[in-house]
């Protein structure tokens, strides 16, 4: 049993950092406009499909296609905010939430119309060959270059994100908005621009996560955003929704818990781990691991 532990741990960490990458998108949007952006999982899915499309239809190299997909997804995120959420800023919460679900379902089926409903393999020819080779091996654990690449990319993006949030003007504006929208706008912050920027940033990171997962599992399908979205949301809740470091921590904890649960308890309930963690955290500690106390407005 124990010889399984390290490989499961590595697998869990790989998944965990990817969940963290998606969870950050939920948590940032929630922090700024207090909306669960249900369509975030679909942006993640679009990232993967757009990347494959750029490689096969346009003939872009792998790394360039990733960047192009990121930019497109950032645009999709901003567009979502513009057409779906912005008109509802003053509407009841229920309306915005239902809109978000409607958007999620719409995008998922749009992908089905565009790319078909069957799972596709990732274009393996386009992926640099060395990524599938073993980079490190110690005591029975093999780390591929792809896994190292995933760790490297996610870590870089997380550090970049933290720098944006803590060191730049727009990051300060985001934090101000999360505190109090009215006061922020009185201080001359362009609220709608900052919200659009938040969507763009979160969506671009979600797109990268989608691409990494579809390369890791060599598979992409229109409903992939659904489960991944829920898991990332569970990660965001676990870490404390609204808290960016919380989302990172939550993602990693959830990924590891899932891999260990699948390895030692039952692989059938792999996805169930995320739901169970989510329900338990929401009931027993709604503010999450690193979140501040939630103000109950009801």
């Amino acid at each position: 049993m124990l010889e399984q532990l390290l490989p499961q741990l590595v697998n869990g960490l790989t998944l965990g950092v990817i969940y963290a990458l998606i969870a950050v998108g939920y948590t940032m949007v929630y922090g700024v406009i207090e909306l669960i952006n249900f369509a975030h999982g679909e942006v993640y899915m679009f990232g993967a499909f757009l990347c494959v499309t750029f490689i096969t239809a346009v003939g872009m190299p792998f790394y360039l296609a990733i960047v192009a997909a990121m930019l497109c997804c950032a645009a999709i995120g901003m567009f979502l905010d513009l057409v779906a959420y912005k008109p509802l800023r003053k509407a009841p919460r229920l309306a915005a939430l239902i809109t978000a679900i409607g958007m999620s379902i719409f995008l998922q089926n749009l992908a089905m119309v565009i790319w078909g409903s069957r799972p596709l393999p990732f274009v393996q020819e386009a992926v640099p060959a060395y990524l599938n080779e073993t980079a490190l091996s110690f005591s029975g654990v093999y780390l591929t270059w792809l896994q190292l690449f995933i760790f490297g990319v996610t870590t870089t993006m997380m550090i970049g994100l933290m720098l944006i949030i803590t060191r730049t003007r727009i990051g300060t504006a985001m934090r101000a908005l999360a505190q109090n929208k009215t006061a922020a706008s009185l201080m001359g912050i362009n609220v709608n621009f900052v919200i659009a920027f938040t969507f763009a940033l979160g969506s671009a990171m979600g797109a990268v996560a989608g691409i990494l997962v579809s390369v890791y599992y060599n598979s992409l399908y229109p409903t992939m955003g659904y489960v991944a979205g829920v898991k990332a949301f569970a990660a965001a809740v676990l870490g404390g929704i609204g808290s960016v470091p919380g989302a990172m921590l939550g993602g990693i904890v959830l990924g590891v818990a899932e891999a260990l649960g699948a390895g030692y308890v039952s692989s059938l309930y792999r996805d169930g781990v995320a739901y169970a963690v989510m329900i338990a955290v929401i009931i027993f500690r709604p503010s999450g691991l690193l979140g501040k106390a939630v103000i109950d407005k009801a």
Binding site: L88, R93, L94, I98, T99, M103, V113, Y275
Partner: protein, 347 residues
């Protein structure tokens, strides 16, 4: 609604007599029965988001629990339909209480997510506990309901025997749920729900025990969902976990929102519109060579557009709001006016 009443009566009698008419066809009867199942589901779901203002994304979980309760009891113990429906309702309501009691104190978004997680866990359970449900293979061999309707069924319509009894059973079910909910809507319970929806703070300060009333709402809603499921099981005669995925919750939510949150008649109309639209879209998509699930593309779009342009749906529950205690409404308005600024600062 008032001046249309005679017209509606004629329409209802006409529809009820339809299965007995010589030109009745099995497909239309099937669709009508499906419409009525969704009417029951829409009326049931409507209680939570419509009357109490909380988004329930896990409604299909209770529908599935009801269906499998009915299916398993029939297959293994041959229990009669008349006993199965109340048993399924009780089981659904029990799960409603188990899920609702700890979670209904949560704010709207969190509650939506927890219910969603619950329905996904139900699907996982139905898929994985093969010893009980046969998992993805599905549960076949459920007995049809035996209702002797021969006196309604002259010899020359013998081919409709299958659908006709179900049609009338469904009518009975819709009427029952409708009248119960109409009574509840006008009762102390219903008014407490509206008060909670309009302003929880005001309701609480008027002595409404918010959590208890919410749990009751959730349990009744779950019970009605399970009734719909039990009927569905005995009508389809086959169940599989796929039938109870999130899509279904979303579809029923579409009906409720389209018709008008909080309006029972709206839920009924929403069910008619969505099921008919679904049938038409299925044909169109078949011709276009697309998978039938793609019809949810249009449903998603409909939801977004309704929320944008008609946030209260096409038949808003104005009557219902006015009926809730006027004193409470006035009080809510005053509290909002006095403390509006302070409460705003949290968001």
């Amino acid at each position: 609604m008032g001046k249309f009443k005679p017209l509606l009566g004629v329409l209802a009698v006409g529809l009820a007599a339809y299965p007995l008419l010589p030109f009745a066809n099995e497909y239309l009867l099937h669709v009508m029965t499906l419409v009525m199942i969704y009417m029951v589901l829409a009326m049931g779901l409507n209680i939570v988001p419509g009357f109490c203002g909380l988004l329930d994304l896990g409604f299909v979980g209770f529908y599935g629990i009801g269906a499998y309760t009915a299916g398993l009891l029939t297959v293994h113990y041959g229990v009669s339909f008349w006993l199965i429906v109340p048993l399924a309702a009780l089981n659904g309501a029990l799960w409603g209480v188990l899920l609702g009691a700890p979670t209904l104190r949560l704010t709207g978004d969190y509650f939506a997510i927890v219910t969603f997680g619950f329905s996904e866990l139900v699907v996982l359970f139905l898929t994985n506990e093969i010893w009980l449900t046969r998992g993805p293979l599905g549960l076949p061999g459920i007995d049809p309901v035996n209702v002797n309707l021969e006196f309604l069924n002259p010899d020359w319509f013998w081919e409709f025997q299958g659908e006709v009894p179900y049609f009338y059973l469904a009518v009975l079910m819709v009427l029952l749920v409708y009248f119960v909910l109409r009574r509840v809507e006008d009762s102390r319970l219903g008014r407490a729900w509206f008060a909670i929806r309009e302003d929880p703070l005001a309701a609480a300060s008027c002595g409404v025990d918010i959590l208890t009333y919410k749990v009751i709402a959730f349990a009744i809603s779950a019970g009605i969902g399970a009734v719909g499921g039990a009927f569905f099981a005995r009508w389809q005669l086959f169940l599989s976990p796929d039938m109870f995925k999130f899509w279904e919750s979303f579809l029923v939510l579409c009906m409720v929102v389209l018709g008008g949150l909080g309006n029972i008649h709206g839920a009924l109309i929403g069910a008619v519109i969505m099921v008919c639209l679904g049938e038409v879209l299925r044909e169109v998509l078949y011709v276009a060579g697309l998978p039938p699930e793609v019809r949810f593309l249009f449903y998603g779009l409909i939801m977004v557009l309704i929320m944008r342009f008609k946030p209260a749906g096409f038949f808003p529950a104005i009557a219902a709001t006015a009926k809730s205690n006027p004193l409470l409404v006035a009080l809510a308005a005053r509290i909002e006016k006095t403390y509006g600024g302070r409460r705003e600062s949290h968001s």
